[in-house]
Amino acid sequence: MKKKVILIIDDEPDVISYLSAVLDDVDYDIHSSDSTADGLEKARKLHPDLICLDIMMPEESGLSLYARLRRDECLATIPVIIISGMESQQEFDFRRYVGDRQIPPPERYIEKPINVEAFVATVRTLISVVPGEPDENTQRQRS
């Protein structure tokens, strides 16, 4: 069976190494980008099953890239986990940053530093969901 593809976009090489090592243990096909431009290019080329995205990046924030992914018909249904140390999971208010109501909130927001077990469980859940059909947790977070 073909391995599920995960794309990690973060400008911190240590974060990429860490997340890659964690996900590699679960036997996924891991790809990474250290910039939003390269990340978008790879997303188009690989069409991954999941994207892990940082917020604070040079040139463009992760949330701007997220909005562009959601506006792209081919990429709009790929589940996205935002991973950032900017705010806690409880405080993160997507609408404060992205006012466009056409853009739905990301499937998950995970606070740095990650809890490995919870992170892996989230990845498994999102990857098992059929694209375009949000899982129960996603529905709860979006509401």
């Binding site: 090489p13 240590d14 974060v15 190494s17 860490y18 090592a21 243990d25 250290d34 701007s64």
Partner: protein, 494 residues
């Protein structure tokens, strides 16, 4: 010699004088030696009512006895005309002020005074104006003093007296500032000298010893600008505004502390992520007996520990609260110094660093070391933005300007630019877009130094086009900070 009657000269007959007496637009009355009014004109009757059979003191002042110091009596005695200001009541009992002209009437030249004609004019309006002016001078909610050429206060209004004590006759510098000698840059002296209005910010000491900040305007009194005898000093107390300004600065400081703590937490979280990642990979390397992985994890641990050291060092440097050490410097020189310092480094990575200086700029009180740090941070950020950009010809420019009383430094680049999200965060957290290379304290430190100078920093940027960051310093605030530092007991502007 008989006087010749001129052509068209009217016939002066009794009716003429009687009519003239009646129509003259003043109150006219004739009194005898007993102070009886024996004749009065229509104006008089209209103003004082029925006078027939009454004494002048009864009609004028509603008295039963002659006035003390009666001028009419003196005129009866010495035959001299007199003018006096009198107060009395009109026929309705209302207070009346009038000027009275007394003239003796004689039947024969050099004969005894038989009667006196009293001609009075109502000056109640003038009196009212005087009272209103007096009231205005006294009650106006600012400090007013009038000084003579010896800087002696000859008048002071109520507000001033309340705050500075009994001051008339004392030197203004002694009263305003508790000085023994004239103040340097005295605005009143300039007004005496050039006859023009001058404004200045001042700090004085009230009678209770507390400081008073006020905005002073001096103006010449009189129309002759060459020989000014008096100067009026009008000032508005802005102590309350100054206190509010301090409160606002304090509130901003507290807000900055909150933002700083949030930023610190963000930075630490990132480092923790790196440390936990390193531990995870080291653990994995041990389990798998994989030396490559072990080394990778170990390097991650080392790197993040070093980041912790850098962060703590920068944080300690940032947290050192100190007042800027302001000295008058040429802002252009500061910009040139930074340009000279970074020109070569920039050129090595293909970035051109230039200056665009406002040649008319004058020396301003700045903390050279603080501004040096700010410009260093901004220029190094701009060079980094060019390095990260795909463009081949990176350009960074330091611009100085002095417009509308605001001194500014702008550092512009044609580098990567920032999107709204990055711009929003740029001063509020320990936010870095430089991955492993930055601690995120550069712009935060810059903002702190700019605020300590009473200035503002603003960022304008477009992704892909570049950014420009402006540090703007209102010169009045710089001057006030400078003077506050130099003379805690009272100062004035040039």
């Amino acid at each position: 010699m008989t006087k010749q009657k001129r052509k068209n000269e009217p016939e002066f007959s009794d009716w003429f004088y009687r009519d003239l007496f009646q129509q003259v637009p003043f109150n006219m009355a004739i009194i005898d030696k007993e102070y009886n009014i024996i004749e009065a004109n229509a104006n008089f009757t209209e103003y004082f009512g029925n006078w027939r059979g009454k004494k002048c003191y009864t009609v004028y002042k509603n008295l039963d006895y002659p006035c003390v110091g009666c001028n009419a009596r003196l005129t009866f005695e010495d035959g001299k005309a007199r003018v006096s200001d009198e107060s009395g009541v009109d026929q309705f009992g209302k207070q009346a002020h009038y000027v009275v002209h007394l003239a003796p009437l004689r039947k024969r030249t050099n004969g005894p005074v038989e009667y006196i004609v009293e001609m009075s004019r109502d000056i109640i309006e003038t009196k009212n104006w005087q009272m209103e002016y007096q009231l205005l001078f006294e009650r106006v909610p600012c400090y007013i003093t009038v000084i003579d050429r010896n800087y002696k206060i000859i008048r002071a209004n109520e507000n001033f007296r309340e705050n500075f004590g009994d001051v008339v006759g004392r030197q203004c510098y002694e009263v305003y500032k508790k000085r023994k000698t004239q103040c340097p840059n005295c605005p009143a002296r300039r007004t005496f000298h050039d006859g023009r209005v001058h404004h200045s910010d001042q700090v004085g000491i009230k009678k209770g010893g507390e400081k008073a900040h006020y905005l002073l305007t001096t103006a010449p009194l009189g129309r002759d600008t060459e020989n000014i005898a008096h100067v009026i000093e009008i000032s508005t107390d802005i102590s309350h505004t100054k206190a509010l300004e301090k409160e606002i600065i304090e509130a901003e400081r507290l807000a900055a502390v909150g933002q700083t703590v949030a930023g610190l937490a963000h930075s630490i979280k990132n480092i923790l992520m790196g440390l936990e990642g390193g531990m995870y990979i080291v653990g994995k390397g041990i389990c798998k007996n994989d030396k490559v992985m072990l080394n990778q994890g170990w390097e991650m641990l080392e790197r993040n520990l070093n980041k912790t050291t850098s962060l703590v060092r920068d944080f300690l440097s940032f947290s050192k609260g100190r007042l800027p050490d302001l000295v008058p410097v040429n802002p252009n020189r500061l910009a040139e110094e930074i340009c000279e310092l970074y020109k070569e480094i920039a050129a090595k990575i293909g970035v051109t660093l230039t200056v665009d200086l406002d040649k008319k700029i004058t020396r301003a009180p700045l903390d050279p070391s603080g501004i040096h740090t700010c410009l260093t941070n901004l220029v190094s950020n701009a060079i980094d933005a060019c390095r990260m950009s795909d463009k081949k010809n990176g350009e960074v420019c330091i611009t100085t300007a002095d417009k509308k009383g605001v001194l500014s430094f702008t550092v512009s680049d044609n580098g990567t630019g920032m999107d709204t999200e990055v711009k929003r965060k740029v001063f509020t957290t320990f936010f870095t877009t430089k991955g492993n290379q930055g601690t995120g304290l550069g712009l935060l430190t810059t903002r702190k130094i700019v605020k300590e100078h009473g200035g503002k920093i603003s960022v304008h940027s477009k992704p892909g086009e570049g950014s420009y960051v402006t540090m703007a310093f209102p010169k009045k605030r710089l001057q006030a900070l400078y003077e506050e530092k130099d003379s805690p007991d009272g100062t004035e502007n040039k």
